[in-house]
Symmetry: C2
Subunit: 364 residues, 2 copies
C-alpha cells in the first residue's frame, strides 16, 4: 500500500493506493472519524454499481456504518443540477445530517457530482473519494467539484476537499481499455508539466499500464497524484501555479465541445491538446525533441495525437474563446518549455493557435 499526503493546512488529507483496500474499507472510515451514528450516502453510477456497490455496502455495514446509496446514469450528462436535486432528496429521505458523509464510488463524473453534493448539502458535509478510474486520480486531488450547465462544463461548483481518498487498484480491472488509455493521458500530463524522469518511466512502462498491471498502475497513480498534490498544495484556489494543470486543456476542451457525443473522451481530447501545446512550445523556441518525446509518451499509451479532419477549425476556435480560462479578454495558454517544465503565456496569438489546429488536422 502506498500513501501520499495532499498538504493543504487544516484541509490536508491522505490518498491510499493499493490492491484490495475495499476489503478493509471500514478501518479507514473509522480512522478518519466518519460518523457511525449518522447515515452516510454512497453515490455511484450504473456501470460501477454492479461491480462494487454491494461489496462496499456490505463491508461498511459490517463495520458498523449506516449506509444509504444512490445510483446515477453513467456519463458526463449525470453532472447536472437535476441530479443534485435528486441526490439531496435521497439524502434527506435517508436521514443524512450535518455529521454524515458523502462517498463517491466511481470515476471523475461521480466524484465531481458527489463532491458538489457534499459541498452544498447543509452547506457542506464530509466527503470521501473511492475512485475507480485512472482519470479520477486527477479529479480526486485538489477538491474541485462541479456540475455542468447546458451552456458550459463544470461551471457550477465549489472547492471541497475530501477527508481521504481510497484507491483500490482491483477496481481498475473492470475498466474498459479505452477508459484506461484516456486516464493515462492525465498521468502523462503530470509528468510533462513537472517530472521528466516520470515521463521516461511512462514511456518505458506504457505497455504494463495499458494492460492494467497493478504494480505499474499503482506507481503511475502514486506519481500522478503526487505531482497534482504538489501543485495544488502551493495554490489551492487556482490563482496562478495551479493553471499549469491545464496543459492541453485549452485545445482539449474546445475539441470536446465541437466533437459529437462520446466521439472523444476527455483524456483523448487533451492528448491531442498536449501535442498542440508542444507545437506551440517549439514555436516559442523549445527544441523539436519536446514535441517528439511528448508524442512518444502519448502514442505509447495508445492515445490519439491528431484532430479528426472533419472538425471545423473556426468552430474549435470559437469554442476556445468561450472557455472560462479566458479571463478579462486575454488568451491564456499553458506552453511547455522542455519535458517536465511549462510556462503560462498570457498572450498567445490566436493566429498561431489557428495554424497549429490546421497542422493537427492535416497530419491525420
Amino acid at each position: 500500500m502506498r500513501q501520499l499526503n495532499v498538504e493543504l493546512g487544516e484541509r490536508s488529507y491522505p490518498i491510499y493506493i493499493g490492491e484490495g483496500l475495499l476489503d478493509e474499507v471500514s478501518s479507514y472510515f473509522v480512522k478518519h472519524g466518519i460518523s457511525q451514528k449518522s447515515p452516510l450516502m454512497i453515490i455511484t453510477d450504473e456501470k460501477v454499481a454492479p461491480f462494487y456497490l454491494e461489496h462496499l455496502t456490505e463491508r461498511l455495514s459490517a463495520g458498523g456504518f449506516k449506509v444509504v446509496s444512490a445510483i446515477v446514469a453513467s456519463g458526463e450528462q449525470s453532472k447536472s443540477l437535476a441530479n443534485l436535486e435528486l441526490l439531496v432528496t435521497k439524502a434527506l429521505e435517508g436521514g443524512l445530517d450535518r455529521k454524515s458523509a458523502i462517498v463517491a464510488l466511481g470515476g471523475g463524473v461521480v466524484g465531481d457530482l458527489a463532491g458538489f453534493v457534499a459541498a452544498s448539502y447543509m452547506r457542506g458535509v464530509k466527503f470521501v473519494q473511492i475512485p475507480t478510474t485512472i482519470l479520477a486520480h486527477d479529479s480526486s486531488v485538489g477538491g474541485k467539484v462541479a456540475v455542468n450547465h447546458p451552456l458550459a462544463k463544470n461551471i457550477i461548483g465549489a472547492f471541497h476537499q475530501p477527508e481521504f481518498v481510497l484507491y483500490d487498484l482491483k477496481t481498475l480491472q473492470s475498466l474498459p481499455d479505452r477508459e484506461v488509455k484516456a486516464g493515462l493521458s492525465e498521468v502523462v500530463k503530470h509528468g510533462l508539466i513537472w517530472d521528466k524522469e516520470f515521463v521516461d518511466w511512462c514511456i518505458a512502462n506504457a505497455g504494463a499500464m495499458v494492460s492494467k498491471q497493478p504494480e505499474a498502475l499503482g506507481y503511475a497513480l502514486y506519481k500522478g497524484c503526487g505531482v497534482k498534490a504538489q501543485v495544488v498544495s502551493e495554490d489551492e484556489k487556482e490563482s496562478s501555479l495551479r493553471a499549469i494543470l491545464n496543459l492541453g486543456h485549452t485545445i482539449g476542451h474546445a475539441l470536446e465541445a465541437v466533437a459529437g457525443y462520446n466521439e472523444l473522451l476527455h483524456g483523448e481530447a487533451i492528448s491531442i491538446g498536449m501535442i498542440g501545446s508542444a507545437k506551440l512550445g517549439v514555436r516559442y523556441g523549445a527544441s523539436e525533441d519536446l514535441l517528439r518525446v511528448t508524442a512518444l509518451a502519448l502514442e505509447s499509451c495508445g492515445l490519439p495525437t491528431r484532430i479528426p479532419a472533419h472538425y471545423d477549425t473556426d468552430a474549435i476556435l470559437a469554442a476556445m474563446m468561450h472557455d472560462k480560462k479566458f479571463s478579462e479578454g486575454t488568451v491564456v495558454f499553458v506552453v511547455p518549455v522542455e519535458i517536465g517544465k511549462v510556462e503560462i503565456k498570457p498572450d498567445v496569438p490566436i493566429q498561431w493557435v489557428r495554424e497549429i489546429i490546421e497542422e493537427l488536422k492535416q497530419e491525420d
Copy 2:
C-alpha cells in the same frame, strides 16, 4: 455613516450603514477592487427593481463598471435550483468571468440566492450585498447562502463571505410595514442573545423603528449586525457558539413549515418562537421577568407572540423533528438564561416543548 467590521481573518469585510450610500456606490466598488473590466451582475427581485435597479445601474455604469442585471420573482420560492440555473445562464450570456462580481440588491431572499450563485459560479466569484430589508441585516452577516429544496429550506448552500455590505437606509423607506416589523424580530433577537442594554434601547425606540426613522433604524442595524458579527467571528462554520443565533428558530421554522403560504413571515414566526424559548427558560429556572421583557420587546415592535389556534400541535412537533438542527438524533434548543444571555440545551424534553406550544396556542 456607520462602519462595522466582520472579523473573519482573510475573509474579513466591512458593513457600511448610512443614508444615500447608493449615490456614491461606485466609490465603494472601486475601493474594494471590484473589476471594471469584467462585467458584474446585479440580482434583484421584481418588487425591489422598480425602486432602485435603474439608479444603481446608472451609478455603477457612470463609475466605469460593466453592468448586467437579472430580476427574479419576489418571495421565498425564488430560492431555487431552477433560478440558480437561470442566473448562471444570464451570467454566461453576460460574459461574467472569474474576476466578475455578483451583487445582491434586495432582501434576504435575493441575498441568499445571489450569494449561492456567487459561491458556485465558476466555483466562486466575488459577492457584494446591498440589503434593502431590515431582516437582511441578519442574512448579510455570516456568509450563509443557500437555496431551498422542495423538502427542506436552505438545504443546498455554502459559506461565502461578501467583499462588503452596503446598507443604504433610504432604500428601507419603501419597505411595507409588515416587513419592517418582521425584520425587527431579528434585531430584537440579537439583543436577547447578547446585549441587555440594546434590548432596553429597542423597547424605548420601538416606535421610531416601526415608523422607519432613519436614525433609529441606522443604530438598530448597526447594533444588530454588530452582535451577529461578533458571534460569527468566533465561530464561522457553526460548530458551537453560532448556534445561539437560532434563538426562537426551532419553533419558528416549524411554524413556518406548518403555516399556509405567506400566513407567517419568518420574523413573525421566530417572534413567537422566542416567546416559546423564554417560557422554556423560565421552566429551567430563569426569572419570570425574562418572559415579560421578551414579550414587551417583541410586542412593542408590533410582532405576534401567540400561535394561531388552528395550528396543529402534532404537525408542529413533527416539523420540528425534521429540522436540520437535530443532529444525530438529539434535540437541540437555544434557551435564554436572562435577557442578553442564552445557553444551548442539547436534551430538551419533547414533552415540555409540546406543553409550551399548547400554552402559546391557548393564550391566543
